[in-house]
Symmetry: C3
């Protein structure tokens, strides 16, 4: 079992947890099934959309049943530890940041390995990271995560571009993987700490 696989599992855990918490916070009457369904879709959504767009079959979770059991175990633990988890909001934000960072680079690598151009690979990496959350937000009728103020999907796209630049410079793959993941985490943390945001699109109203 490679380090990368362990990190992917970790990313899956984080996303499943975020889905289950999102729906149960929104609607305190939410039952276990609704929480589990939302957690599942959040965890597999981004990667599935990437693979469907690339025509790469079978989907990762269809092939590797470990992911399904990881998600189920995560949902159960999230439900049992609910009271404790919602007090960990700050820590959770760090986990989510870790999740999108890992999925961005994993997704970018997979797209590259299927032979698409670097620009498309970067977009696919970003999709892997954020689309699970977008689907979660559509299901729960929230404003999609990528329209919120903070630097989020843009950090993923920047990180994917950074990774691709390092590939061009023939940086060793494992080093590149780790440095790029840390790069995305750094952008996110700096943006959150200093409350940074991107320039407004519609400037004339300001």
């Amino acid at each position: 079992m490679s380090i990368q696989y362990i990190l992917e599992i970790l990313g899956t855990v984080v996303f499943a947890m975020s889905g289950a918490l999102a729906v149960s916070e929104k609607d305190s009457e939410q039952d276990w099934f609704g929480a589990g369904f939302t957690g599942f879709v959040t965890a597999i959504g981004g990667g599935s959309l990437r693979d469907i767009m690339l025509g790469s079959y079978p989907l990762v979770w269809v092939q590797d049943i470990t992911l399904l059991y990881t998600i189920i175990a995560t949902i159960v633990c999230t439900g049992l530890l609910y009271k404790w988890l919602i007090r960990l909001r700050r820590t959770f934000l760090l986990f989510d940041t870790l999740g999108i960072s890992l999925f961005t680079i994993v997704g970018t690598e997979k797209a590259l390995s299927l032979g698409v151009s670097p620009e498309i690979a970067a977009i696919m990496g970003m999709f892997s990271a954020v689309m699970g959350g977008v689907i979660r937000d559509i299901l729960t009728n929230e404003v999609p995560v990528l329209f919120r103020k903070e630097v989020y999907a843009s950090a993923c796209l920047l990180g994917a571009t950074f990774y691709l630049g390092m590939v061009q410079l023939q940086v060793e793959r494992n080093t590149n993987f780790i440095v790029s993941v840390l790069f995305i985490i750094l952008i996110r943390l700096v943006a959150l700490k200093y409350n940074l945001s991107l320039p407004k699109f519609n400037r004339l109203r300001h």
Copy 2:
């Protein structure tokens, strides 16, 4: 023409009707096209998502034009009989229950026949049954059907699991099909009658 095919057509009719009624109830100004579009997407959505996730082409409705004409005929009849149909809410709920029960087992069988593991087949069966309705609810800005209180998607997942257990026990296929469909219908009816619901995910607030 097999019994199963007739049942699939019946399921398609039920879903097309539920889509057309949902959008026209929500917005009484809804025109024929909007009702037809929603009915169409509701009827084909679950099966299409299953086949896309399994990489199984062509999609059922792309290959078998009968389904399209069935849907069109259903929409026309639904519009003409609107006044009469909305008084049949209770009966309609039975039809919807029949629809999801049939689609669950048909979807589980199809996924199994494509060689996925039983766990994945059960999820695909549930997706076939409920995702058309989820897409309908997203289009019409409703809370997705699977977050409503009643036992709905969970009945499908349970029924699919039941079916797969019977496959393991080498129960004859047609018997298994019928018994499993009846099993889902039974769960739904019992849940509706006694107003059952699953345990809440977020227990501490109660």
Copy 3:
């Protein structure tokens, strides 16, 4: 570079613009990334859904990187010319009409060339034209464009049917393409001018 390719690029420009404007109008705090993301998804959504449903890989924008750069350039120009563009609402409506007309016929042709029946090709043509906008509306929590009063998706479906009828009559392809696009534009303009709408589905409430 064929005339048709130029028209497709033009359609892509129109849809990218409509996505970026939609999200920034809805939320005046929207940043460049959110506007760009929405513009991108609006421009590629319809064609991607068509190709995924037909199992036709690679997706057009994955294969032809020109489309991505066209979209990026469009977003940048839209942001810079925002003040000027929102005063052009009327003109913009014409552009959108041009966009859906082109995408309908291009999508219908592509589906036909993949061997589906004419009925399915017409639906795929309509999906190509309107689904990008539907995804845009779901992301921004608007009522999907096809449920609004005006004749919109129905004009596309009618135009696709017209095109297919002319194919049956063996009309020369380029002539057919141009005439069919003009036919859709005409329906839309007449519907807008005379404020036409389709019959209501739920007639008993009127």
